[in-house]
Symmetry: C2
Subunit: 328 residues, 2 copies
């Protein structure tokens, strides 16, 4: 018999709630509450958490305690502690705080890039290059990820040509990032497009193709994650309780709910390393730290299905069989 707890997860669920979620709501979660929430997420088995943004406190007071939150997260063994950095100054602060991985948002939409950060995409690539140079000099073991936002459409310019997304991903890799993921910032992606675009990006940058960051704006979040999984994506961003979205893309909202995403993969027999009951329990410190804030998720509402343990074990066996090509 296989001991499920000792297998390496087949997919990595990268929890973005403490960053993407908390910076999207008006209220500021107290620092101690953030620590409790991050610990609960870790206890559920999550091993990559985007814990903060390193941005000026006057712009995002919700993230003013970024360094202290990182310090806490670094005490959790085996956790990859990520932070979003919008620029070189943020990267300096994040590296000083001791993060393991930086993520830099770079918009594929020319219009969104100008509206959001008042920079062209070429200027953003130059900034990525500067951050990579800083990393190489100060903290060579820190990973740098480019998060290609508005990769599937833009609320400002509409269509975002696929070739421009592929070009931008390749430019970021040329600038030295370790991987480039694709974000459906605006909730406009569909499964056919997800498959096409990830395939094209992989053809250009190979195994530097990073995470799928999908939104559930129009209900397609999980279908898009499935589509990404089908074409080889193995890292998925999501947010506990679906907290957050992108406050700078008008009309966009709704991260994929971590609970539902984990349920989907575990039910399929694709191991996530996450204990779903503990994950659902991790909603409590979130709710306690943000009283009155809406928290989403279908699986927590419906509860786990009857015979969940058996179902999951059976699915794991069948999934393993399929991966070995032995299933009917």
């Amino acid at each position: 018999m296989q001991d499920m707890k000792n297998t390496i997860p087949a997919v990595l669920i990268s929890e973005v709630g403490p960053r993407d979620g908390l910076q999207s709501v008006k209220a500021t979660m107290p620092t101690e509450a953030k620590k409790r929430w991050i610990s609960a997420l870790y206890e559920a088995g999550l091993r990559e958490i985007e814990v903060a943004s390193f941005v000026p406190a006057k712009l995002l007071p919700q993230m003013a305690d970024a360094a202290e939150v990182v310090k806490h997260a670094l005490t959790l063994p085996g956790l990859t502690v990520m932070a979003l950095v919008p620029n070189l100054r943020g990267a300096q602060a994040a590296i000083e705080a001791g993060v393991h991985k930086l993520t830099i948002p770079v918009s594929a939409s020319a219009a969104h890039s100008l509206a959001n950060v008042r920079k062209t995409r070429e200027e953003m690539v130059a900034q990525v290059r500067n951050i990579v140079a800083l990393r190489n000099e100060r903290a060579p073991r820190v990973l740098v990820e480019a998060g290609i936002s508005t990769a599937f459409g833009c609320t400002i310019q509409g269509d975002v040509p696929q070739d421009e997304v592929v070009w931008l991903a390749a430019e970021c890799v040329a600038a030295g990032v370790d991987d480039a993921g694709l974000s459906d910032t605006t909730g406009m992606a569909n499964p056919a497009q997800v498959r096409r675009l990830f395939n094209k990006v992989r053809a250009a940058i190979g195994d530097k193709t990073g995470a799928a960051h999908m939104h559930n704006t129009r209900g397609l979040g999980l279908a898009n994650c499935l589509a990404a999984y089908d074409v080889g994506v193995r890292t998925f961003d999501s947010s506990l309780g679906g907290l957050g979205g992108c406050p700078y893309a008008p009309g966009a909202s709704g991260n994929v709910v971590t609970e539902d995403l984990v349920f989907m993969f575990e039910a399929m027999g694709v191991s996530t390393g996450v204990d779903l009951e503990r994950l659902i329990a991790a909603r409590e410190p979130l709710k306690a730290g943000l009283p009155g804030e809406p928290v989403y998720g279908m699986t927590p509402q419906a509860g786990l299905p009857k015979g969940w343990t058996t179902v999951r074990a059976g699915a794991a066996r069948q999934g393993a069989g399929e991966r070995n090509g032995s299933a009917a």
Copy 2:
């Protein structure tokens, strides 16, 4: 240039709201309101609608006007008018009313079958055979569908063995049904299971494999529809505003939302024949006929994305290219 309006839809969206939805809520929608709603669904382009259940009015007062609702639906040219019939008496009444297609629920879960209709699965198959005999004698052009419920799991017995689902589908086909669809009555399906089970059923009954009737209980409704599409399913049941579920499977709820399903396929370039703006407008007569009843749907809430017409036309071209094997 291709005229989109004259192409045959690539998938058939079978709207179940007026039956599955309306029989699941406590309130009874007035007959005139039902007619207005069904007409609005038809105006949006839906060409198969399950309009009623033929059951004793004392059990389901919401469906007491089934014959009158069918009579109205029959005035809409090109619409396939479906009704659910739980038994021979219901089938007689539905045929007399003039429906084009009968759907008979048959539970794959032995425990659910006994709890729900106090019959074994074998007794249900015998009943299907009797209904087919009636159809052959009285109305040979009427189609008969078996809807295999609890096909992906049961809230009473938990796991439902795949072989039993395949056996039941084959028994129903041997009993003379035109097709057998699979229903995730309890919201327990996952995409890997959907692909496996539809493949197995198709291996057993070929092109008599019918619709995918998925629920969104744990948020996987659209992902499961995508999985079914991937393995060749081309008919999908869904409910406007996600109205309904199965009142007899405790804890189960949540039909797939027609608006989100149509959005997914149209965005993928898979034509449904449905006009999404008119479909969203068809929520108004639903709300008017059922004041205070919650109506769901992410796409109606978020609105159509910027450049939707262009996006869809581009997707249709790419989709057509892929079907012809000519896309990159």
